[in-house]
Symmetry: C2
Subunit: 130 residues, 2 copies
DNA sequence: CTTGACCCTGACGCACGGGTCAGGGGTTAG
DNA sequence: CTAACCCCTGACCCGTGCGTCAGGGTCAAG
């Protein structure tokens, strides 16, 4: 499978695949004699796993730090009783991400409050920063 | 007053003042013979107004679109019964900003939910997008 | 006069996940 | 053989509000 089909199979674009590879999320794939990337079902599954984790709010760097666990997620039967703790390995980054999200949500909510008050009062004074 | 003092008086930096000027939020100030910017109390007040609006969540572009109303806000006695509707003039952008904030908050909240579920279930499947 | 603090313009950096050329080569059906 | 489509690498673009050099003039005090 060449990059276009692999990307389509994983629900993304060739550019994204090259990007993941460049960032170290995908191992350098096999190349055809003329230098074109060749992908198999395993890499497509891995890309799916990457996309799920990204969609859920993790960043590329989060994944890079745990890249060695990505394979565990790409396998169809989630046999997570082998020896590795399975997806829980992502717990630390997920925790951190949750905290960051909470902080950001709180910040935006406070901002929203202030903006609403600002609109209501006519915008004279806002407490101020430092 | 030169730029450093003006910036300090407004609670910001020289770079920010040049930036506002470049973006059209501040009119080009008077210059000394040697080309240095000269500011008076009026511009400092205007910068304060700009900073308040930014702090409240509006963007520079929001302000640019209503730049002609900034002067009204910079005056000390909020005489908003002259002829212009006063700060309410910012209502449209504030509305838009509130909507944008709500959307963003909702997005992050949903993300947080998904991430939390992902962590709880062990990260097997996330519904997916298109 | 010299020093140190301030000012000038112009231009790149940042965080994020790719999008979008540009210029050149591979591949395959008709 | 050729059109039409795919792939390659390298490099710039987006949005936000400035921060931070770089290289060079200006100003006030000692």
């Amino acid at each position: 499978m060449r990059i276009g089909d692999a990307a389509a199979a994983a629900g993304t674009t060739p550019r994204a695949l090259r990007f993941y590879e460049e960032r170290g999320l995908l191992p350098p794939p096999a190349r055809s004699a003329s230098g074109q990337r060749e992908y198999g079902p395993a890499e497509v599954a891995r890309v799916r796993a990457i996309r799920q984790l990204l969609a859920v709010g993790l960043t590329v760097d989060d994944l890079v730090s745990r890249v060695h666990r990505l394979d565990l997620l790409s396998e169809d039967p989630p046999r997570r009783c082998t020896d590795a703790p399975g997806p829980e390995t992502f717990a630390p980054v997920i925790e951190a991400r949750l905290t960051a999200l909470d902080t950001e949500i709180a910040r935006l909510t406070a901002l929203r409050e202030r903006l609403a008050r600002h609109a209501a009062t006519g915008g004279a004074n806002v407490p101020g920063e430092v």
